[in-house]
């Protein structure tokens, strides 16, 4: 009797310890489908834009302030580092908008099968690369 009791108590402690836990899906152990990678990139670019928008706003405010301010903004953007940051922010914006349009279409059930969503994820990345290169050419 005593033994059974101990056994059941041990079982209940063990059950408590083995209750289902949220399992973290590590990017190092799990091969994400391409759609998932595009979705995560959409989030990351969103967070980056949260700060990037401040840079664009600052550039615009300087350029709009006065003639001298416009020249100052041009001088700032003549520096290679400022150009790289601008290119980075605009690239982030390009990907975020294109991936966002894709997500909006998915909300309307346009292309929401796995095959179509995978194909459109590649289209989003492909178009982004083209536009990002074009933006780079435009900046330099």
């Amino acid at each position: 009797m005593q033994k059974d009791h101990e056994y059941s108590e041990q079982m209940s402690t063990m059950n408590n310890k083995e209750r289902p836990v949220f399992i973290s899906v590590s990017p190092f152990t799990f091969a994400f489908p391409f759609t998932a990678l595009a979705s995560i990139a959409h989030r990351i670019t969103g967070v980056l834009l949260f700060l990037g928008i401040g840079y664009l706003l600052w550039l615009l405010s300087v350029a709009l302030e006065s003639e001298a301010g416009f020249v100052e903004a041009q001088t700032v953007l003549a520096a290679p580092f400022a150009k790289i940051v601008l290119w980075g922010v605009l690239s982030t914006l390009i990907f975020h908008i294109l991936a966002g349009v894709k997500h909006l279409l998915l909300d309307f059930h346009v292309g929401d099968t796995f095959e179509a969503a995978t194909a459109s994820a590649y289209v989003v990345v492909g178009l982004s690369v083209i536009l990002i290169i074009a933006t780079g050419v435009w900046i330099w």
Binding site: S24, F50, I53, F70
Partner: protein, 122 residues
């Protein structure tokens, strides 16, 4: 009913719709401004100011600033509630998330005041 105090409207459905409507507004705004820059390769201060100070753009600038605030608020809330949780951040995760949310609030407040003041004083 328990509602999440830090979401924008305390309703997931409203947040969902606002997130998407503001996304459409911001996409349209970006296309307009990009089009303007592409149409004016030899940009100067007068052209820039005339464009942004025009009445349609004053309205669009204002809608854009408010859309940015709503869109960024919902987006950062989503990211915060998805990742700043006990599994990753331990028992003080709520504190961390409030700091995150508060930081986002302060930055967005600065953006809104700064941008509206800039556009409305043109």
């Amino acid at each position: 009913m328990v509602t999440n105090v830090t979401s924008l409207t305390r309703s997931g459905l409203s947040d969902f719709v606002i997130q998407r409507v503001s996304a459409a507004v911001l996409t349209l705004y970006t296309l307009c401004v990009v089009g303007f820059f592409l149409a004016n390769p030899d940009m100067n201060h007068a052209t820039l100011k005339t464009y942004f100070a025009s009445t349609p753009m004053l309205l669009f600038n204002t809608v854009m600033v408010l859309s940015t605030a709503a869109h960024a608020w919902i987006g950062m809330w989503t990211v915060g509630t998805d990742y700043i949780r006990d599994h990753y951040f331990g028992k003080h995760h709520t504190s961390f998330r409030l700091v995150w949310q508060g930081g986002c609030m302060i930055i967005l407040f600065v953006y809104v005041v700064w941008a509206l003041q800039m556009f409305w004083s043109l």
